[in-house]
Amino acid sequence: MSKNLQHISEEALLAMYYQQRDNIYIGELLSRYTLRLLGVCLKYLKDEDSAKDMVQQVFEKVLQDIGKYKIDNFGGWLYRIAQNACISQIRLKKPVAYEAELMTQPVEEDADRAYFWAVDRKYEHLQTALGRLKPDQGVCVEAFFLQKKSYQEIAHEYGYSLAEVKSHIQNGKRNLRIIIEALERGSNV
């Protein structure tokens, strides 16, 4: 896209688009997200050519629809469009078999935010909760959040696959929150 737009923030580009209704700003935004879009489509469609076609369809859909809504979070909106488009395509091809798999897709957890980790006032509860996690989750959560190890390092060191590491961290984080909330409720009574 145009060179002079490259240093403009996402929010500013969106604002400029809604002011001038010039697709050049949306083009710049889409250009910034192309690799991510390709990755998401590859994840769902498992085929490079289908993924590339799908990215183009997403571009078209965005250019058609962006003027109809007031979008604040472009990345989130774009992700939902790509995800829905891929799922629709999969459903067309495999109407029944893939349903169960789609049901297991992780759901975005609004409440489960990283801010949780920035708060150290509940250190004692954290230590207790860490001890109550399943061993795999405890190991991965400690290694990732406390020892600041990457997924790859954890997988290598403890003999998990990358998918297992991610899963243990996500589930461990969620369970940790539940345990800490329960501990807080208990101490407030």
Partner: protein, 110 residues
């Protein structure tokens, strides 16, 4: 982090590319993972990009898609520019036909 020679990638896409290509140190990789812990877009993209072994092919595909996007935008712009002209021409033809029809009507029924 090594600086990318690929000018088509902006900063966050560069980071994603370096991450999926395994070009980051463990600390840098952890920083990326931590920053995107609750970002399903990034995590799904990482999962999908990991399935392609030849990472350079990904960049080529990305470049192609960006070029196609640019062409799409240009053609939309041209289409938008040519629409008023086309409308004007159609209107002119309709007016001429109406004048002709009126003339023939008057000529035959006089």
């Amino acid at each position: 982090m090594s600086k990318s020679k690929h000018t088509t990638l902006d900063k966050s896409e560069q980071d994603l590319w370096h991450y999926t290509s395994g070009k980051l140190t463990e600390q840098e990789a952890h920083a990326q993972e931590f920053a995107h812990l609750d970002d399903p877009f990034w995590n799904d993209a990482v999962e999908g990009l990991a399935e392609v072994q030849d990472k350079d092919r990904l960049l080529k595909a990305q470049l192609e898609l960006q070029q196609q996007l640019r062409r799409k935008l240009e053609s939309r712009k041209k289409q938008r520019r040519s629409t008023p002209m086309l409308t004007g021409m159609v209107a002119l033809i309709v007016v001429i036909m109406l004048i002709l029809a009126a003339y023939l009507f008057i000529f035959y029924f006089r």
